[in-house]
């Protein structure tokens, strides 16, 4: 196995001990990116010379006997809405390609680099993060490494596809309505939407300020937790949430799956994945959130209104420079009356209280990430209530209602049992959301680790890399 395919902690330990050169790691990552970029279209920019220079610095630090950090020499990449010093932050938009370059790195990027990680480039996304598909009119469609005829999901599609394909060991993206969880689920890797105010948004191009979060993607729960810890520096956390870092707690036993809205419109295969997980866990508890559909509507209205308001000046100036599918949704959002918007915000608070009540009886709630496996690029639709509707707006029907609660939610890849019929949807990944209440992140990670150790969830790289 190549060093690049090892766990993040092991890669960093090898670099710190001088047994592995950071330059060699970066060179291998660049080779993989060059090999698969044309098929997957994950990257919008590859920072070859910068990455090699940073890797050289890490190797020099090690040679001098100093410690480059917890992520020493580990290559990563970021969604193209994080500020990277010296580059225009495009947010996936043609009309930002020549925007004034950032004068410093986004705080999330800064924290990762501060622990020795090496930024390899910026990653494709839906324009202005308004979509669940990574169908980008300017930068093209990002494809799923498990089947390049299929979507990677979005809006952080490049972030998920690059990690799933093994081009980089981890990446970062953003999740407003499901933009980490949907692509992580469709590409068969781990991701997390953190609790609100956990990871700093400084230097991240906004979409819906009251819902935006930064989230990492990785190939294992250990890798994800390690990156998450670096991003969510406890000393910087919002005082109202305490994150205990110990993982010695006994994993929780009170688990329920979400029924109702979260079953309706899911394919048989997706329902089977969730049910099989529950069966293994020995739980048949089901929680119905009768407000879920309305919560999705509230989120939809808030997203349209805040997104429209954010872009109004630019739309006045040059509406035709937008991706038409994004532009028309943003313009419609500018017309949302304040009274309606306020009702949606009010409902958000109400829904948050209803969900919090459920956590008096349960520690974890489980639901599918998406209603189906990755749709085809040439037929980017999903079936909702018997109608074929655009994947761009509807792949997140199960993530969107949970987003407005502000709780931490993992996206984990269900591991198909060996006996599963390989002809069914070609064995494509199915993602499962595991949610908990803020402050219980240690339980979330410990529980997922137990599932992973038990072979119930896990990531499988669809590409056999030759080093």
């Amino acid at each position: 196995m190549s060093a690049l395919d090892q766990p993040v902690a092991k890669i960093a330990a090898l670099v710190r001990s001088g047994q592995l050169s950071s330059v060699a790691l970066v060179t291998e990552s660049l080779t993989r990116i060059r090999t698969y970029q044309s098929a997957l279209n994950c990257f919008t920019r590859v920072l070859e010379s910068e990455a090699l220079a940073d890797a050289t610095r890490i190797d020099e630090q090690v040679a001098r006997g100093s410690n480059p950090g917890a992520l020493a020499g580990v290559p990563f990449a970021c969604k193209d809405l994080f500020d990277v010093k010296g580059l225009s932050t495009t947010a996936g938009a043609k009309n930002r390609v020549n925007a004034k370059p950032a004068t410093r790195d986004a705080e999330a990027v800064n924290r990762l680099k501060g622990e020795g990680a090496i930024l390899m480039g910026t990653l494709n996304m839906d324009e202005y993060a308004y979509g669940f598909a990574t169908i980008n009119a300017h930068f093209g469609v990002t494809r799923n490494p498990h089947d390049t005829q299929r979507l990677a999901g979005g809006s952080s599609g490049g972030s998920a596809s690059s990690v799933s394909a093994g081009l980089v060991p981890f990446s970062i993206g953003s999740d407003t309505n499901g933009s980490v969880r949907v692509p992580a689920g469709l590409c068969g890797i781990f991701g997390i939407r953190p609790a609100e105010n956990t990871i700093p948004m400084q230097g991240v191009f906004p979409f819906v300020r009251s819902l935006d979060t930064v989230g990492p993607f990785a190939r294992s729960i250990d890798d994800l937790q390690m990156v998450y810890r670096v991003l969510a520096d406890p000393s910087e956390n919002n005082a109202s949430y305490s994150i205990p870092w110990s993982t010695s707690d006994e994993p929780p036993v009170r688990i329920a799956r979400l029924g109702g809205w979260f079953e309706k419109n899911a394919t048989t295969e997706v329902l089977h994945a969730v049910q099989s997980l529950m069966t293994h866990l020995g739980s048949d508890a089901v929680v119905n959130l009768p407000e879920a559909e309305t919560a999705r509507s509230a989120s939809y209205i808030m997203t349209a209104a805040q997104g429209g308001a954010l872009h109004l000046d630019k739309l006045r100036e040059d509406a035709m420079s937008y991706d038409p599918a994004v532009r028309d949704r943003l313009i419609a959002g500018t017309m949302v009356p304040f009274g309606l918007y306020n009702k949606a915000v009010q409902f958000r608070e109400y829904f948050r209280k209803q969900v919090e009540k459920q956590f008096e009886s349960y520690d974890l709630l489980i639901a599918p990430c998406t209603p189906c496996v990755a749709p085809l690029v040439d037929a980017p639709h999903v079936w909702i209530d018997g109608k074929s509707v655009p994947a761009r707006a509807n792949l997140g029907i199960f993530t969107q209602p949970l987003s407005i609660v502000g709780m931490p939610i993992l996206s984990v890849p269900w591991m198909r049992p060996p006996s599963s019929d390989p002809t069914t949807e070609k064995g494509l990944p199915i993602g499962i959301q595991i949610a908990t209440w803020p402050g219980r992140e240690n339980l979330l990670f410990a529980f997922a680790k137990r599932l992973e150790s038990g072979g119930l969830i896990g990531s499988r790289c669809p590409i056999q890399h030759v080093s």
Partner: protein, 65 residues
């Protein structure tokens, strides 16, 4: 060739928001508005069917923070 006259929505949006909507955007915007209307209806219907106790709880929730 004579330009089509702006419709009522285009005039209002131009007057209130200062945003001139090109004619070619109209079908997409109208489809988006229709979806928003669907979601507004779901929100309105659900909240109108809440029990008096739940309505009171909803009223206590803050709107814009």
């Amino acid at each position: 060739m004579e330009q089509p006259q702006p419709n009522e929505m285009q005039i209002e949006v131009s007057q209130i928001l200062g945003l001139d909507i090109p004619n070619q955007c109209l079908p997409g915007i109208q489809a988006s508005l229709q979806l928003l209307q669907t979601h507004a209806n779901i929100l309105r219907q659900y909240t109108s069917m809440l029990s008096e106790e739940s309505k009171a709880e909803l009223q206590e929730c803050e709107g814009e923070r």
